[in-house]
Symmetry: C2
Subunit: 198 residues, 2 copies
């Protein structure tokens, strides 16, 4: 006995999704065919549409359906500031803080030599070009405070400073609401070194 | 700032997959657009094809691309035996044991009154019709040995026996290779009650 080939093909294709193994791919395929054919058809349409329409912003590299994204084409934004983030989700988090009115550059990842992710994969040339437009005066590095994010920030910083650009990094320290007892020692050590006059 | 609508639509559609919440849907959408557009296109094709082609076997109710599935149309199978399983995956497990040469009926679920899953959802009428074809002499209930599977087996058994059909159930007992010390008490109790002369 074999599964019908359309179902096998569907289960195989579902495995292209990150975090989906053979068992869950089969479960998903059965679920869609048994309980949610409308959802399956909708997902099929969504995939086709996204593949066709979603591209990268010519300026900031984020996902957009236009040549230049909404943020980059917003005349209200401060064009002298460029904030570098790893992902569109990170950009969204910063937007939600309402503390930043400049523009962005989205790396779509971070350096990870062991995984073969180098400067080209995080679009370093495009970032250097973007930051060298003569209007940007400061680049704010807002990559994650993980090992990879820190290494990425360091690498970008060296490259941009070599071109005479002013580069800053989000401050590290004890999180707002953080109780020292529950904050890790590395964070406290960093907060001590970076302490500010009050 | 907003995500482009094609991406939002894709993330929304991915949530139709079982076990996929908003965070992983977004991660999947980003992953496909950034790293695997070919996979996205392939999944789109697979979904469209499955929605179009996959149907239920007129005889056994499993998924198939034909009116009647491969197993049901195989002349080598013993048409007097009908094994009732919950899912195509369960059927596959039984096929792999090479111990059964009869036909199947796939419920595509189990009774679960609390979830609103009743006799109609497990295609009881279709099963009764199938089992009453005058050729089937024994129905083997191979639903899971969970509460729902047991209740489903009981319900089906009552219905088929009322129509004069012979009904059996897979044996319960200590699993092959099972050490009594590590087998739960309920299983041992059942194995004791069902003990067989040697
Ligand atoms: Zn942009
Ligand atoms: Zn069949």
């Amino acid at each position: 006995m074999k599964s019908p080939s359309s179902l096998e093909f569907l289960a195989e294709a579902l495995r292209r999704l990150p975090g989906v193994g053979p068992k869950s791919a089969q479960r998903m395929a059965y679920h869609l065919m048994q309980h949610d054919r409308e959802g399956a058809a909708m997902l099929g349409r969504a995939l086709n549409q996204a593949v066709e329409k979603v591209q990268h912003c010519a300026l900031c590299n984020t996902f957009t359906e236009h040549e230049v994204c909404e943020v980059c084409s917003n005349p209200e934004r401060d064009k002298t500031l460029l904030c570098v983030v790893e992902t569109p989700a990170d950009q969204l988090m910063i937007e939600q803080t309402m503390t930043y009115k400049g523009l962005y550059f989205v790396l779509m990842g971070h350096l990870s030599p062991l995984d073969g992710i180098g400067p080209k994969d995080i679009h370093l040339e495009k970032l250097i070009q973007r930051a060298s437009d003569g209007v940007v005066t400061e680049v704010v590095l807002a990559t994650n405070f993980t090992n990879e994010g820190e290494a990425t920030a360091h690498y970008i910083s060296e490259n941009l400073k070599a071109r005479g650009l002013k580069v800053s990094r989000l401050a590290r320290g004890v999180p707002v609401g953080g109780e020292l007892e529950y904050v890790d020692a590395g964070t406290i050590a960093r907060a001590m070194l970076d302490r500010r006059a009050t």
